[in-house]
Every structure is written in C-alpha cells, then in structure tokens.
C-alpha cells in the first residue's frame, strides 16, 4: 500500500469497494417500502378517524356527566324527604321480602318495616307539629308587633290621659290634706 497522492491514495481504495450485496440492498429497500406504506396507511387512517373519535369521546363524556347528574338527582329525590321516597321504599321492602325465604325471618322483616314505618310516621308528625308551632309563634309575634305599632300611634293620648289622672290624684290629695288640717284644728279647738 503506497500513498503517492493525497487525492488518489491506495490506502482508502479497499474501503471504497465496501458495498451492500445486491440481495441485501433489495431486502432493505423492500423493508423500507413496506415501512413507508404502513406508516402512510396509519397516518391517513388516524387523520380520518381523528374527527370521529373526537366526537365519540365528547359524546361519552356528556353521557357520563348526564348519567352521574341523573343518579345524584334521583338519589336526592329518593331520600326520606324526596318525591320518590315512598316508591323507592315500597319497592325496596318488597324486594327485601321477596328475597327472604324463611317465614320467621320474613315476619321479623315485616315487623322491622312496620316499626320503621311507624317511626317515620312519628318523625313526620313531630316535624309537622314543630312546623305548626313555629307558624303559630310567628303569627303571635306578628300580632304583638302590630299591637305595639298601634300603641305607638296612641302614645300622646295615653300620656295626656295619664297626666289628667295625675292631676285628679293631686287634687284629691290636696282636698284630703285640707280636710285633715281642718280636722286637726277642730280637734285642737275642742281640747283647748
């Protein structure tokens, strides 16, 4: 191996001969073509499906939100104060009884349900009574307030009347004092 010329040196010529064998080159090309085709197909199907999947995703989110909201509302309405409570309770109790096959257990359950119903009735009655009591207290308070307002309107008259009573009392007191003094004088005269 000699190096006479920097541009055309023999040292590098064996490296220039390195190349892919035709079979190897063809195989890599086939692989590359297949890769490009698969990637292109994926990209185009993703771009086609993008719009659809976006809307489906949105619909699923809305559906979940509506279902969750409905469940919460239904649960609220099925509570003891809710509109659906009697229906829900009735259905639950019936199912509970239907699933109880032992007679004794069923009787126990019926008793429990009855007690629960009585308890609830009692609770509702108490609540109703408390509401009525609160209502009557409020009414009384309103009436008192109205009366007080009337009293305030007649305050000057009442003051004048009281003043007159006081004057009458003073006059009566003065009369009595005068009579007492006359009585004392008469008594002194009789003794003296």
């Amino acid at each position: 191996m000699t190096m006479h010329d920097t541009e055309n040196n023999d040292a590098l010529s064996p490296i220039r001969e390195i190349s892919l064998a035709p079979g190897e080159k063809r195989r890599i090309r086939l692989h590359l073509e297949a890769y490009i085709d698969v990637q292109s197909a994926r990209t185009s199907s993703r771009s086609r499906g993008g719009w659809f999947s976006h809307h489906v995703g949105l619909a699923v989110v809305v559906l979940i939100a509506v279902t969750a909201g409905g469940t919460v509302t239904l649960a609220h309405w099925s509570g003891p104060d809710g509109f659906f409570y009697p229906f829900r309770k009735s259905v639950t109790e019936r199912v509970e009884l239907a699933l109880t096959f032992d007679d004794e257990e069923r009787l126990d359950k019926e008793m429990e349900q009855l007690e629960r119903a009585l308890g609830e009735e009692e609770l509702f009655a108490e609540r109703e009574f408390a509401a009525l009591a609160a209502e009557s207290v409020a009414e009384e308070r309103n009436e008192d307030e109205e009366e007080n307002e009337d009293d305030d309107d007649r305050a000057p008259e009442r003051d004048a009347e009281a003043q007159r009573d006081m004057d009458d009392f003073d006059r009566e007191l003065n009369g009595l004092e005068k009579e007492l003094r006359e009585f004392d004088r008469e008594a002194e005269d009789e003794l003296g």
């Binding site: 590098l12 490296i15 390195i18 190349s19 892919l20 064998a21 890599i28 590359l32 490009i36 990209t43």
Partner: protein, 165 residues
C-alpha cells in the same frame, strides 16, 4: 407525502452503499451496519412525515446514520476491530472471495480507525464518498473551513501512520 416517498427511495438507490460503508467503518460489523442503514432511512422518513423540510437529504441521511452508529457503539454491542480480526471474523465484504482483498480491507480499516473519529469521518466522506465539503460541514455541524482543515490534517496523519506501518 407521495413526493417524499419517491425522493427517499431515489436517495436509497443513490446513497445506500455509501451509507453502508460509512456505518461499516464505524461499527465494523456487517449486520449492524445494514441495520443502521435501514434505521437511518426509516428515521428520515419519520422526520419527513413530521412535517420537516429537508434542505439536504444526503447530509440528513449521513447525520442520522452517524447518530445511529454512535448509539450503537455506546450500547457496546460492537467489538473492536482487533478482536474481530483475531477471532477471524468476516470483516470484509462477503462478495470479496479473494483472501488478499479481505486482508487489504482489514489493513485499511485498521489504519483509518487509528485516526481520531473527527478526522476519520471528514476524510472518508470526502475521499471515499466524494461528498462536497459543504455537505460534510452540514453533517459534522462545522464550518466549511474547519472541515477543509480537518481533511488536510487527516490526510497528513494517515500518511504518517501509513509510513510508520
């Protein structure tokens, strides 16, 4: 997209052998070099389909192949040329049935791999692949002047190594 396909396949026909050589000198393993070439083209295809505009497809392919080779070497999957030679591994092109050709190739690879990688790469791209200095500068991320200096020093160093061999 269709246009890129044609462009890349044309680039394959044009540069596949040179890229294979480029990877083979670095990796010193025929199978790994073939994988690196294949990977360089598929990565370049992904890069193109990501919406990037190639200014110099050849330089891009070389750069990608260089990165793949570096990753491969870091992974430690390749053995040194000396080790391969000692084990009698087939470092030459299997098409070269002549033992003297294989020996010359082994000698040449030993010689160029004694150069620092930055000199070796510039030298091989210029004097084996006939790549313009402008393109080599893009691949190496250096200025054209720096590349010219490297090539000049690489030749001097190679001559020195050859004379001492």
């Amino acid at each position: 997209m269709k246009d890129y396909r044609q462009q890349l396949l044309a680039a394959y026909e044009q540069y596949a052998d040179a890229l294979f050589r480029y990877c083979y000198v670095r990796l010193q393993d025929r199978e790994l070099a073939k994988d690196a070439v294949q990977e360089a083209y598929t990565r370049t295809w992904r890069w193109l389909t990501d919406g990037n505009e190639p200014r110099n497809l050849r330089a891009l392919l070389y750069r990608t192949a260089a990165n793949i080779s570096i990753d491969e070497l870091r992974r430690g999957r390749t053995e040194s040329l000396d080790a391969l030679t000692e084990q009698g591994a087939d470092i030459a092109d299997p098409s070269a049935t002549d033992p003297s050709v294989a020996a010359r190739l082994a000698e040449a690879l030993t010689l160029v791999n004694r150069l620092e990688p930055k000199y070796r790469d510039a030298l091989l791209m210029r004097h084996v692949d006939d790549m313009p200095v402008k393109d080599i500068a893009i691949v190496l991320g250096e200025s054209e002047n720096a590349v010219s200096v490297r090539i000049h020093r690489a030749i001097a160093k190679l001559k020195e190594l050859h004379d001492h061999a």
